[in-house]
Symmetry: C2
Subunit: 404 residues, 2 copies
């Protein structure tokens, strides 16, 4: 029997955890079990959820002071549900999500299930091929602010970033369809900068336009953006649903990398005793759903996530699997002085993503991007940042400091 195995942390002051786990395994599959006849049991056994493991939480990262908890693993026969993410989530965490202090930590997916999920079209290798960047982390920048900007102002800000040598520029996730900078027009305007960069510097800049609108129009809007020149798409997947990402990733006419933004995911991952773990939601599930790059909070900035959680997300995105490895993009609070820490914590196959750490550079946006490229080059070459003879980098270090 193939199963998907869900791993939960459950807290309860008095519960018999084996009894509770058994009630879940039976209740979320065949309903009542003990009162069935022997014949009926033998017919239904292939549908029955099974408790596979129960362990105290005491010495794990999930332990909560003074709270009694257990790590519970339950196997759900895949015969019970269709091979799509909504069916998986309803099966392992539907009604159960409402059952008090219970957190979904992980799901061990069967190969059969995994193979039905699209995974990334491009992933790390595909994006490295498209940008021609090998041997160093990529650099992504975020517009400083764009709400209320017209096309010319937007293009100017795009150019300032591009000229500094960034590899990807992404729309702000709060930039929706609007009369000043409608999707196709802003893509076309920024695309002229990308062409300039290629012609004069031989440097590829990808532009991830924000994919918005009604669910049923996402694929159409994606094709419109691509036809206008978008070379990537930013997608607020948690405002739509993981399956909407699966659909985009499965669509052969969508021929650019998909950048998954974690907007709204804090509502699910930020609690400690409810919701879903970041490694599962932002890591494993986004990867199987088809994200090529995944943004998540870095452990350095003011919007922080503990280092262990961010490292777990990156691990899920890159560990060997039936799907392509995809780029971890630890974001928020990133400045050039953090580049060595980023490489130490996440390795070299990442995208370094900055907003304020580029635009806030004392010498301006272009210098800010250059400072990052210099920090990346120095770190990859094994040169301590303070010893790297680059003016813009040193100005950035003077502004923001370093972290080792």
């Amino acid at each position: 029997m193939t199963m998907c195995i869900a791993h939960y942390a459950i807290w309860d002051e008095r519960a018999d955890f084996l009894k509770k786990a058994t009630a879940i395994a039976h209740g979320m599959t065949v309903g009542t079990w003990t009162e069935l006849s022997a014949t009926r049991k033998s017919e239904m056994e292939k549908h029955l959820g099974v408790v596979l493991d129960i362990a105290p939480l005491d010495e794990t990262e999930y332990a909560i002071p003074n709270a009694r908890g257990a790590r519970v693993s339950i196997g759900y026969p895949t015969i019970n549900f269709s091979a799509d993410i909504p069916a998986l989530l309803v099966t392992v965490f539907g009604k159960l999500s409402l059952d008090g202090n219970i957190r979904l930590l992980d799901i061990t997916l069967s190969d059969a299930f995994l193979k039905q999920c699209p995974g990334a079209k491009y992933g790390i290798h595909g994006i490295r091929d498209r940008t021609g960047v090998h041997g160093r982390p990529l650099l992504m920048s975020i517009f400083k602010s764009v709400v209320g900007y017209d096309l010319q102002e937007l293009r100017e800000q795009f150019a300032q970033q591009a000229y500094g040598g960034v590899d990807l520029i992404k729309d702000d996730e709060i930039l929706f369809e609007n009369p000043l900078t409608p999707l196709e027009k802003r893509v076309a305007a920024c695309q002229t900068v990308c062409e300039d960069m290629m012609r004069h510097h031989g440097h590829t800049v990808l532009y991830a336009a924000n994919l918005t609108g009604k669910t049923s129009l996402l694929a159409t809007n994606a094709r419109r953006a691509i036809a206008a020149g978008a070379s990537a798409l930013l997608f607020n997947v948690f405002a739509y649903g993981l399956d909407a990402l699966c659909e985009l990733a499965s669509d052969r006419s969508i021929t650019v990398p998909l950048v998954a933004h974690p907007a709204c995911s804090g509502a699910i991952v930020s609690s400690t005793q409810t919701g879903i773990s970041p490694a599962l939601l932002l890591g494993k599930l986004l990867r199987i759903a088809g994200a090529d790059l995944v943004l998540f909070p870095s452990p350095y900035g003011s919007v922080t996530m503990p280092r262990s959680q961010t490292v777990s997300i990156a691990h899920e995105l890159t560990t060997p699997s039936v799907h392509r490895p995809v780029f971890p993009v630890p974001s928020a609070g990133i400045h050039p002085g953090l580049v060595p820490a980023l490489l130490k914590d996440f390795g070299g196959d990442i995208v370094i993503n900055a907003g304020g750490g580029i635009h806030g550079h004392p010498n301006g946006t272009t210098a800010g991007a250059q400072a990052f490229r210099q920090a990346i080059d120095a770190t990859v070459a094994g040169i301590p940042l303070h010893d790297a003879p680059y003016e813009h980098l040193q100005a950035a270090l003077a502004r923001w400091g370093t972290r080792t």
Copy 2:
């Protein structure tokens, strides 16, 4: 300037809440503000988020012992985002959802935004017209267990419920497309029972078939179910996304009521210091997205939600608005002895929904449904349940007791 106003609870031991709220209002709209020139400020002012209110949480229901918190209201100009729920959520709770202990309590929506949302096609009045039931709460029942059942077994269980006089029967939310009871075949099988009930008893029974599958196929699957005879559709909206519900509600070819199931919503609503309040997510947002009936945990069973939260959900579903009022369906742990409490807590315009409280009746499923109808009739007539001369009702009271 029209605005949507988001209301948050924020906890922070040291923060200056006005400063923090201002940073949110600016950061989630125009980005930097104070350093702009006077000319630029006058151009950008219509896009600027505004702090409208800050109050201590001390004496509210959101107060947490020993935690310092504030209720913060921020206005977001509607000019900044398109009139759809994903754009709304990303605007008011995108990045912000990841910003520590912050919970989205409510959103005051502009009329312009509300009018772009579909709301229910049928709602309370439309469903009362379809069932011909006026002057009493409706009764809904849930299959006991169906995973692993074949068509004949499923039809038999459906019939046992229908014969007891229930008004709606819903699929189990964990019943997905499967070879034993595929969508169109199970709808057709159960529909023959509905026709029997109409022919012999003049009683309408609606069947809410579980709408599953890939996001892009939901509308097609809905039409298939309706063509086969489904008179309602159950939808695991939080496994897909609120906008997927908007699409179904906006689709004129989907001509049956939509029953929203709260599966997976616990991952968002169950924490106290993060996520989204149940009144907003399961109440206001499901109503504007177009649910005709909304299931949520009752305050009586083992999967409980505090009474005040459940009453707030029901209030959001029924309070006067530009959209039709829709049916609150407090669910889980419901037995006939709770009918007076249900009417006292939620009023008469509800759907009473039971599973174990019907199938677990000492005289069987049909008697269990009859006991509920008897409890409803007695309560509406002002007769105390223990004084009502109905055998099945008295057996139910002996089994489960009452609650006043």
